[in-house]
């Protein structure tokens, strides 16, 4: 169906409400944040309007550079783990009976209703020495004695993958449902084992969806600031944790705003790179 392009100013009327909401709740706060990032901090107080680059200059240091690098690496790791786990899972889910699908999707949606705090404390209990999963391994005779698995990088990664996994499945699900099941059958009749058919047909046919999902989970994971604190050591803290720390505990709004703006810019740059790389791959 082709629609007529809007002719008069009145035709744009339906856009007014969403545009206003977007301006009030996104553009204005974001603009404020950008402005604050250039303000002068008042020691022991708040901040005064100014136009200085001190705040940006301050984190051009090895420390903040490595935190930024770690944050990006962590987000990439979460995105890859989620897609690698969710793609085969969702593929099998779409081939199950409708009733089984509903049970799984409801279970996944209920994970979404959990807050980050609850997820963090649940996993820190599961990874603890006194009440954790290692006790089960000891009971089964697989381990000598119970030990704490947290705080550690693996614990942070597990918690974040757990949190992002339902989103990943929900984003992949529609694309996999729409995928023509005869494609894999055709691949099998042409000599591909089911596993080979999955990697030579399902994955390449869904390339764009997979890239989009990776970006979504990456951005989602970048914003996580509670789980690294609950499950990790200070060296596992992401930039989001430092931003929270500066904004809330150090009362250094200008510096926190500058870090946030920088994080947004780096993220946008990475996403743009991915999209461009994807376009190139498509043309080739």
């Amino acid at each position: 169906m082709r629609r007529e392009p809007p002719q008069t100013v009145g035709d744009y009327a339906p856009l007014l409400f969403p545009a206003a909401m977007l301006t009030i709740f996104f553009v204005v706060p974001f603009g404020t944040m950008i402005a604050v990032s250039f303000f002068q901090r008042q020691q022991g107080g708040f901040y005064t309007p100014a136009f200085v680059f001190d705040n940006y200059g301050r984190f051009l240091s090895a420390f903040f550079g490595s935190v930024l690098g770690f944050s990006l690496m962590m987000a990439v790791a979460v995105a890859i783990c989620c897609v690698v786990l969710a793609l085969p899972f969702t593929y099998m889910l779409t081939r199950m009976a409708r009733s089984v699908q509903v049970v799984w999707l409801v279970a996944l949606l209920s994970v979404l209703s959990l807050s980050e705090v609850i997820i963090g404390f649940a996993w820190s209990t599961l990874f603890s020495r006194t009440a954790g999963i290692t006790n089960i391994l000891v009971a089964l005779g697989l381990m000598g004695e119970a030990k704490a698995l947290t705080p550690s990088f693996a614990a942070v990664l597990t918690g974040m993958v757990y949190q992002a996994f339902p989103y990943t499945v929900l984003v992949l699900f529609p694309a996999l449902v729409r995928l023509d099941p005869t494609l894999t059958e055709a691949a099998r009749t042409l000599g591909a084992s089911p596993l080979k058919a999955f990697f030579t047909v399902v994955v390449p046919a869904l390339r764009n969806t997979i890239v989009a999902t990776l970006i979504m989970v990456f951005i989602f994971a970048l914003g996580s600031y509670l789980l690294p604190q609950l499950l990790g050591r200070p060296q596992h803290w992401t930039l989001s944790v430092l931003i929270t720390d500066q904004a809330i505990y150090q009362s250094n709004m200008p510096f926190a705003a500058a870090m946030a703006v920088f994080l947004v810019l780096v993220t946008l740059g990475l996403v743009a790179l991915t999209v461009i790389a994807g376009r190139k791959g498509e043309a080739a």
Binding site: D180, T182, L183, E185, A186, A187, R188, T189, L190, G191, A192, S193, P194, K196, A197, T200, V201, P204, A205, R207
Partner: protein, 345 residues
């Protein structure tokens, strides 16, 4: 034995028997069309031959080897799906090369074979096009070429032409038959289009309710249908009851037809008489007669509907032999024993 053999093949979905004790032998190099109404089990049977479904019972043999439990990807067959199932992320050439790539054939062999197949399907030079840029007929040909890339032992097609418009479909039927004869490959096509089956097949297998009703050459199926289902399903026919008296004298619609015999001991049977075998005459005493109820003049053929004692009989003739009848006229219906096919049931 060389060729495909289905032995007592059964497929059940829960309590539903989709395929019931199917026995069929397909000699090497034959073209078989499985024909039947939707839900008759023909596609299920094809999927079992391909290994996409496992039979509940029975055996499938290819060249004497039992392949019932051999996984699909080890059967070395070519299959064309109703949806064609071309890989959207690959070009025409990559689609055709897919079975060769999976088998790790050398790159130059792949290239050579793709070019060979593209010229065979009259699409030389299309290798680098995306499949989405092709027309329906071209996609059809690419799907066929991809299935034939490894020179399979068995070529299976599931309603391959149903997505094409009528003209293109008829042209593709002829092309597919010629291609099969040129390659001498054992081919099984599932279709619900009897014209398609009559055009292409060496053997037509008529199925209904999960069973094979008749498997024979197209002309045999048409001329000598085994039962009333086959007679009615293939082309048009008149199904008429015949009765035999104690002396074996057979009468049809109350009039004796000398020379016609029913199976020994049977007092009643159903006859199938093709409309083109029914000749209309002037009313004659002692012959079957009826009233013309409708004349359908289709230009190429003329169908005359005659009511004989409450039963409708259709006669078809060509314009040159146009019967000079009008609605309401009394006519005689001439039946000779050689045009009456006595059906099993």
């Amino acid at each position: 034995m060389s060729g495909l053999a289905l032995q007592n093949v059964v497929k059940e979905f829960g309590s539903f028997r989709a395929v019931n004790n199917v026995e069929l032998t397909v000699p090497h190099g034959t073209f078989v069309c499985m024909l039947g109404p939707s839900g008759c089990g023909k596609t299920t049977l094809l999927r079992m031959i391909a290994g996409l479904d496992l039979p509940t019972g029975g055996a499938i043999r290819l060249d004497g080897e039992d392949i019932t439990r051999v996984p699909t990807h080890k059967r070395n067959l070519g299959m064309v799906f109703q949806s064609l199932a071309l890989f959207p992320h690959l070009t025409v050439g990559e689609n055709i090369a897919y079975p060769l790539r999976i088998r790790k054939a050398p790159k130059e062999d792949q290239k050579r074979r793709v070019e060979e197949l593209l010229s065979m399907i009259h699409l030389a030079g299309y290798a680098d096009r995306p499949v989405s840029k092709l027309s329906g007929g071209q996609r059809q040909r690419v799907a066929i070429a991809r299935a034939l890339a490894i020179s399979p032992k068995l070529f299976l097609l599931d309603e391959p032409l149903s997505a094409l418009d009528a003209k293109l479909r008829e042209a593709m039927q002829v092309e597919l038959r010629q291609l099969q004869q040129q390659l001498g490959i054992t081919t099984i096509v599932v279709t619900h289009d009897q014209r398609e089956a009559m055009t292409m097949a060496d053997t037509v297998v008529v199925m209904n309710g999960g069973e094979i009703r008749q498997a024979a050459s197209p002309i045999e199926i048409y001329r000598r249908p085994a039962d009333s289902f086959v007679a009615d399903f293939i082309g048009q026919t008149n199904l008429i009851e015949a009765e035999a008296d104690t002396q074996g004298q057979v009468s049809v619609l109350g009039q004796p037809v000398p020379g016609l015999a029913l199976p020994a001991g049977a007092a009643k049977a159903t006859l199938s008489i093709r409309p083109e075998d029914v000749h209309l005459t002037a009313p004659v005493a002692g012959a079957i007669s009826g009233t013309v109820t409708f004349v359908r003049d289709l230009g190429g053929t003329i169908e005359t509907f005659v009511d004989v004692a409450g039963r409708q009989i259709v006669a078809v003739s060509t314009p040159r032999q146009r019967p000079d009848v009008t609605v309401g006229q009394q006519v005689g219906v001439a039946l000779t024993p050689d045009v009456c096919v006595v059906l099993r049931k």
